[in-house]
Amino acid sequence: MDRRIGVFLCNCGGAIKNIDFDIAAGKAAALPGVASVDLSSNLCLEEGREKMLSRIKEEHIEGVVVAACSPEFQEHIFRGVLKEAGLNEHLLAMANIREQCSWAHEGDVTEKAVELMEMAVRRARSLQPIEKKELPVNKEVLVVGGGFSAINVALQLSRIGLRTTLLQEEALLGIGAEESERFCCFDTDSMISAAEIDENIEILTSAQMTAVEGKVGDFRVVIRKGVEEIIRKYGAIVLAIGCQTRLASDFGPELRTGGGAIAGPNIVSQEQFCSMLVNPNLEKEPRTICLMFDFSDENSRFAAVATLNNALAAKKKWGSEIYVFYKNAKVDGQGMERLYREARNCGVVFVKTDASPRIAVENGRVGIEARDTFLGEDISLACDVLVAEELYLPGEGTGTLNLLLNVRRDSRGFLQDENVHLYPVGSERKGILFVGGCRGDSGIGSVLADISSVVMSVHELLSAGRIPVDVEKVRADPQKCVACLTCIRVCPHGAIHLTRTDNSKEVAGISDLACYACGICAAICPAKAIRFQGHRDEEIVTQLEAVGKALNGCHVAFCCERSAYPAADLAGRLRLHYPENLRIIRVPCAGQVDVFHILKAFEKGAAAVLVMGCEEGACHHITGNTRAKERVKYCDMLLKEIRVDGRRVAMFNLSPNAPHKFVGAVNEMIKTAKEPGR
């Protein structure tokens, strides 16, 4: 390809000292395809940018290489210059000669800088433009659930002009919202009536979602209401299906009578106790009450709030003797400390005990024995009512819904994969959000914050009515695709589906709207049919060719741009040195690194290949780093079976703020790897 490449070198106002820029510029000018080389000391400032712009125009540059600081900092600015110059902004390749060259090594590194520039020039020559476009989205939102969170989300979305459908399995709205009313002083009834009269809110009760197709901006949802089947379209889906409670221990039948009346032994749930509190026909007021919480799950904020509120309410209403048994009593939620103090001041007795108390029935009362941690003594007492410890569990339909929507659950079954990047309310699929109890139990304060987060997220996605996308940044070539469904099975974002080409052949279709451009699909496609602009085989291999040509016993690190790449930058900024013969290739996710790329790096002369991605459980693309790990393992097997001793491939997980770990990993690999024959 004879694209005219313009190289812009910047010495960062003199911060790059150990590179001879004149030599580097001279060598860069001799690289194939390079039409102009310019030296600057302030490329990112207005003056530098203007100069760059005019040079691109003067020299009719068609692809740009910026050899300067890390792309993490100024890439967007330089893209802007390209755009201004009328070039496609994706025709930019950066050579990180500051953080990953000058600052990372001691002594003169002109040679390495030239090699990095050659890699970038080669990349710039093979890059392809990516068109930008805005795609229209449906502005209606489906909110599944009818409790506190669901109604509030609908009301707030209505306020910003977005229409919602509240889809509730029960016949009535507000079921499950009693607690918020009782404990947090929200007026549920007025909330419900506000929703009922709101023009932007459609309420569908006794209805269920039975099928979901499509993607963000264009979900097609099948709703069953009685025998009727309704098909509707939405731009986003918010799940607010709440959670359910169960008594923490399974009290035998001899210990339970249930109901609400006090007759003989009585072990009740928080909810039953609430009904007792409001029951005007209670036979007898309980004189002694015990409550328990946080023995099974000390992080349960719902349980803490319910216990404190109930204890306080009972004290105020009946003046009973009240004991609260607890293990750690975390009261870090909004207003909880106040509640705890108030309860203590009213005379509620708090008993800290490390083990769950023993419970027995004695003469029609509930006997409790426990060891008081502070007194160091066993205590025993008998009460009329025991409000037993409760567990908060995923709501009933959670399992069905997560399958229906193709989203993951956490280890306890709640509706959000345990991945820090999804918090607070996101799922791995764009346009599907979670709020309230279905995310696990958190205090009302965080639920309120979550509601705002959901509203903000939906607003960001849908309010404009269109979403800007990179057109076909990742695309399955219909000629090569054999519809093996592999990509559809592995896409962590549910962005790929089977579609038909014009001549009706079935192929993988990648939605520009739903795609996060992680490249996991491209790396696994057995037909090599998926090409990921900017990270195509051509673009990677041509860089590896530059690496191989120049080095003796070089090493290649494929670094995830979310973790390892910034960690390497940080290592440079901290002047943590590592061997000069490491070449870093920036990838969007470790899951994008193809086995073929690793083997190719060895073919081109690498002795060690490192694949570096985010910490486990913290991959932006959920499974990218675990897939990378599997692939590296497979690749290691491939190397072992051909017995090329000395060559090493390994996977490292690190966070972006772990420069020492980065340097440690690199040093360890380089120490142990060698090219055969060396």
Binding site: V482, P526, K528, A529, V595, K600, F602, E603, R643, V644
Partner: protein, 219 residues
């Protein structure tokens, strides 16, 4: 779909050992889908061969090509120039593709790079299970659409052996389902359990006349 798996590397290395220029030929149909011989696997194997041989100082030129269906002469013909260039062909297609290639280029040694193992379907990502033995006398009408010939470890036709384990698993491999439990459950669902009472005479495997040949009626 035909399922294959790559041959052990030692075997492959030995096959191509005498040759300097080898064409690694993939097939874009079944073996692509089962991750054994598509363009990706071709690239990986070719790369492995180059690495292995250069490490030994005995370089090899591994040419790569993948055709849509290696069992079609017309499609194989598309890569005839690459075949001509090579000293030998390592085909990653099923046995049928290997033979098509061998038949078309009789002067070239054509080696199989994969073992063709069965006709099957994907059970999950990267996992395939055998569904059909190609016996030539389909039995599925009597067994609720579950093939006892390949899905029963012993290929029994008249109900399970005594080795069915708890949870309907097979005594030969507790990871696998007992085919006859699957058949029973399926027939039960359809209310056709009476079929279980039928006795079937030993299958006439001579129905499989080798080599098989099918003439479509209308052709």
């Amino acid at each position: 779909m035909i399922i294959a798996e790559r041959k052990p590397m030692e075997e492959i290395k030995e096959l191509v050992a005498p040759y300097k220029k080898v064409l690694v030929a993939g097939c874009g149909t079944c073996v692509t889908v089962c991750w054994a011989g598509g363009e990706k696997e071709v690239a990986i194997l070719a790369s492995q061969l180059r690495l292995a041989r250069s490490a030994k100082g005995n370089g090899i030129v591994a040419i790569e090509a993948t055709v849509e269906r290696q069992c079609e002469r017309e499609m194989v013909a598309e890569i005839k120039d690459k075949v001509a260039e090579a000293d030998a062909v390592l085909s990653l297609a099923c046995g049928s593709g290997v033979q098509t290639m061998a038949e078309m280029f009789e002067d070239k040694p054509v080696f199989p790079g994969v073992n063709t193992v069965f006709i099957g379907m994907p059970q999950g990502e990267g996992l395939w299970i055998e569904m059909c033995g190609g016996c030539g006398d389909c039995f599925l009408d009597r067994t609720g659409g579950v093939c006892p010939i390949v899905r029963c470890a012993k290929g029994l036709l008249n109900g399970p052996c005594g080795g069915t384990k708890r949870g309907g698993k097979c005594e030969i491999d507790p990871d696998k389902d007992c085919g006859w439990v699957l058949i029973y459950r399926r027939l039960e669902k359809q209310g056709r359990l009476d079929l279980m009472r039928n006795y079937y005479a030993p299958k006439n495997y001579r129905a499989v006349k080798r080599p098989g040949k099918i003439q479509a009626g209308k052709a």
